[in-house]
């Protein structure tokens, strides 16, 4: 069922023209939507993870994110097109893509020095 579901979603999203949306505006709107739709509660205020997995930087492919929203696995809440239209998904994705890379463990002295 999941594999049959993917093309439907992709066609739907592409038909909205979300991919062609104005990028800076999408990022700003996506950030606002990220909080308004409660993504931050499980994934952290910048998508760095928490109760749910890390979303940014470097989000999973857009298609995978759509599948997880529309037909979630594990404990992820369902986000149907009614509560999160395709255009909103695209904007949130644009925001997640814009999150800059943070420090790695080797760049943080106390994590780097953490002994096994």
């Amino acid at each position: 069922m999941r594999f049959a579901f993917v093309p439907v979603i992709l066609v739907s999203v592409m038909a909205t023209g979300a991919f062609a949306a104005d990028k800076p505006n999408d990022v700003a709107r996506g950030k606002q939507l990220y909080f308004a739709t409660g993504c931050d509660q499980c994934h952290g205020t910048q998508g760095k993870g928490g109760a749910g997995p890390r979303l940014a930087p470097g989000p999973i492919p857009y298609e995978g994110m759509v599948i997880q929203l529309r037909k979630p696995r594990v404990r992820m809440p369902l986000y149907s097109a009614v509560v999160m239209p395709d255009g909103d998904v695209a904007a949130i994705f644009a925001y997640l893509q814009s999150v800059p890379k943070g420090k790695t463990a080797s760049e943080i002295p106390m994590l780097k020095a953490l002994s096994y």
Partner: protein, 575 residues
């Protein structure tokens, strides 16, 4: 009565004062506190705090602390904390003041504070209760209450003590005081020899044996025994985190990989499993179940709780029909015999196979640790502050101290277990038992009280929601000068609930724009540092910039090391 308490080894009695137990209260402060071995009266501002402090104390000290309440209005306040202690299998010695003789009740309050069977309201979640009719009866029942509380499975016990009996003179005078019984040495129930031999046979002949430990290590000895068993078998240990069962950096600790090692297991030994079903099976959102183990895997349980089942409250959780061997016994008491039998049955020809298994597990543990280290860097400079950073900033300052993390860490992604090193029983004591909010602030203060005489640095991560259930505990911390570092995980909401509410609202396709109602703790934001200061506790924060955290922690730790409580309010990520 005070001499009876002292002969039970009780050091502290916590109470919010009440007129039904003024007889004991007066005897404690004017006799028990002034003559050796000295009792100490701990003043609380809520009966739930009295019970929860006793709960935390017992998990560090391994013996009961006493608390006292009114029969009706006090016991009702304390009942949630009693249920937490019951579900966490922790011994507490509780007393309620009971106005039994109706002809001596003098006003409306006396009547509304009286019940013909007060303990009935908590009987479903206490191990035993009694209402003594004489001083001799009190003495005998106190010893029995202590004995039942301290016989595995541990649990809270309750005596309803007649107000007049407390206040009246000893019948016949002081010289006629009843004798104090002899305190027995408790011998916990160990597994039957034949069953232990069979378990050893299954474990040593297994390709992939797994040890699961829930509330298994009751005492420091339990942790040492579990290490001996795991090392003899070179078997992985999955620790639920409800006790400090196994060293966090031991190479055989596979708690972070429990799903994987369970899936590979051909024999699972579950020690005091709280939820046997969830351990051995999976259930989807529609209630469909499947096995978590591969076909033919053997399931063994060792559980003292099965010696004392009760039917109403469902803390026993779901059972699975697929257990092959269910041993009704205390796990820790069974381990010495099991270790001996495992060593006796170890096949000499499989030494290299055991070593290879141990090496593979050690490699996996190291990889998991490295993954945790990398993950901890995510959002390092974010504000609200990442919980991984809070744990690491704290650890950086306490790792050279004799610290004791007295709060559960699950609400912060178990960062302590992921990143810190701990190999002693008091380093971590698990959580609440029944997940009743309001446990952490008072129970961790009770644990800190127990740690105080050992000079340990007690640390508690308390949620903003939990602390607001009974902020009066901060006054108790200051008044009693109990050194404890509270770090408020201030995510400004009831976070678990807001995630659950989002899921339901989305399932109904209504969106989540109103789920803050009833879950958010903002507008106004609570200033916990200011609140702490007003109650006599050193307060830092609210800390919103992660760069300010280290200095605030340093000041707070210095206060705690001087013997006083301190609180750091950290505006944090949800988890």
């Amino acid at each position: 009565m005070v001499d009876v308490l002292r002969s039970l080894g009780i050091e502290y009695l916590a109470a919010t004062p009440g007129n039904t137990f003024m007889g004991i209260h007066e005897a404690v402060i004017n006799y028990g506190m002034l003559t050796p071995p000295n009792l100490r009266f701990i003043t609380t501002m809520h009966e739930e705090a009295s019970v929860a402090m006793s709960h935390g104390y017992s998990k560090i000290e391994g013996k009961p602390m006493a608390c006292m309440m009114h029969t009706t209005v006090g016991l009702q306040h304390g009942s949630m904390a009693i249920y937490n202690a019951y579900a966490d299998r922790v011994p507490i010695f509780m007393m309620v003041g009971a106005s039994i003789d109706a002809t001596r009740r003098s006003n409306a309050v006396d009547w509304s504070h009286a019940a013909t069977d007060g303990p009935a309201m908590v009987r479903d979640f206490t191990k035993w209760d009694d209402t003594p009719g004489s001083l001799r009866h009190f003495s005998e029942s106190a010893f029995r209450a202590w004995k039942f509380a301290m016989t595995p499975p541990y649990g809270p016990t309750l005596l309803a003590v007649d107000t007049e009996m407390q206040e009246d003179e000893i019948p016949g005078g002081k010289d006629r005081a009843p004798p104090i019984p002899k305190l027995p040495r408790i011998s916990p129930p160990a597994g039957e020899e034949g069953a232990v031999k069979e378990v050893a046979r299954l474990l040593v002949s297994a390709e992939n044996p797994v040890i699961y430990a829930d509330r298994a290590a009751r005492t420091p000895e339990g942790l040492k025994l579990l290490v001996q068993l795991a090392e003899a078998l070179q078997a992985p240990v999955c620790d639920s985190g409800n006790r400090m069962n196994f060293p966090w950096r031991h190479p055989l600790n596979q708690s972070r990989r429990s799903r994987q090692v369970m899936g590979d297991a051909d024999v699972v030994l579950a020690l005091e499993p709280g939820d046997p079903f969830t351990l051995f099976a999976r259930m989807d959102a529609r209630g469909n179940t499947s096995s978590a183990l591969k076909p033919g895997a053997k399931r063994i349980t060792v559980s003292s709780v099965e010696l004392m089942p009760k039917g109403n409250y469902q803390d026993l959780q779901r059972y699975t029909s697929e257990v092959d061997l269910a041993m009704a016994a205390d796990a820790e008491a069974t381990l010495p015999m099991l270790i001996e039998e495992v060593k006796r049955q170890l096949p000499s020809g499989r030494k290299s196979a055991f070593e290879a298994r141990g090496k593979a597990l050690a490699d996996a543990h190291r990889e998991e640790f490295e993954l945790s280290r990398q993950t901890a860097a995510n959002g390092w400079d974010d504000s609200p502050i990442a919980t991984s950073r809070i744990y690491m900033e704290l650890y950086e300052q306490i790792k050279g101290e004799d610290w004791s993390l007295v709060s559960p860490s699950g609400m912060q992604n178990s960062w302590a277990q992921q990143l810190w090193t701990a190999d002693r029983h008091y380093k971590y004591i698990g959580g609440w038992g029944a997940a009743g909010i309001g446990y952490i602030a008072p129970a961790t203060l009770g644990a800190a009280l127990a740690n105080q005489k050992y000079g340990r640095l007690s640390v508690s991560f308390v949620g903003d929601g939990d602390l607001m259930f009974g902020p009066g505990i901060l006054w108790t911390a200051a008044h009693e000068r109990i050194p404890l570092l509270y770090i408020v995980h201030n995510n400004r909401c009831y976070h678990t609930e807001i995630m659950q509410l989002q899921a339901i609202a989305n399932r109904r396709q209504r969106g989540i724009d109103r789920v803050h109602i009833g879950c958010a703790i903002d507008n106004p934001n609570i200033n916990f540092a200011m609140m702490a200061k007003s109650l006599g506790v050193h307060g830092e924060g609210p800390i919103e910039n992660p760069r300010d955290l280290a200095a605030a922690l340093k000041r707070a730790i210095a206060t705690v090391k001087r013997g006083e409580p301190a609180l750091v309010d950290v505006v944090s990520q949800g988890r």
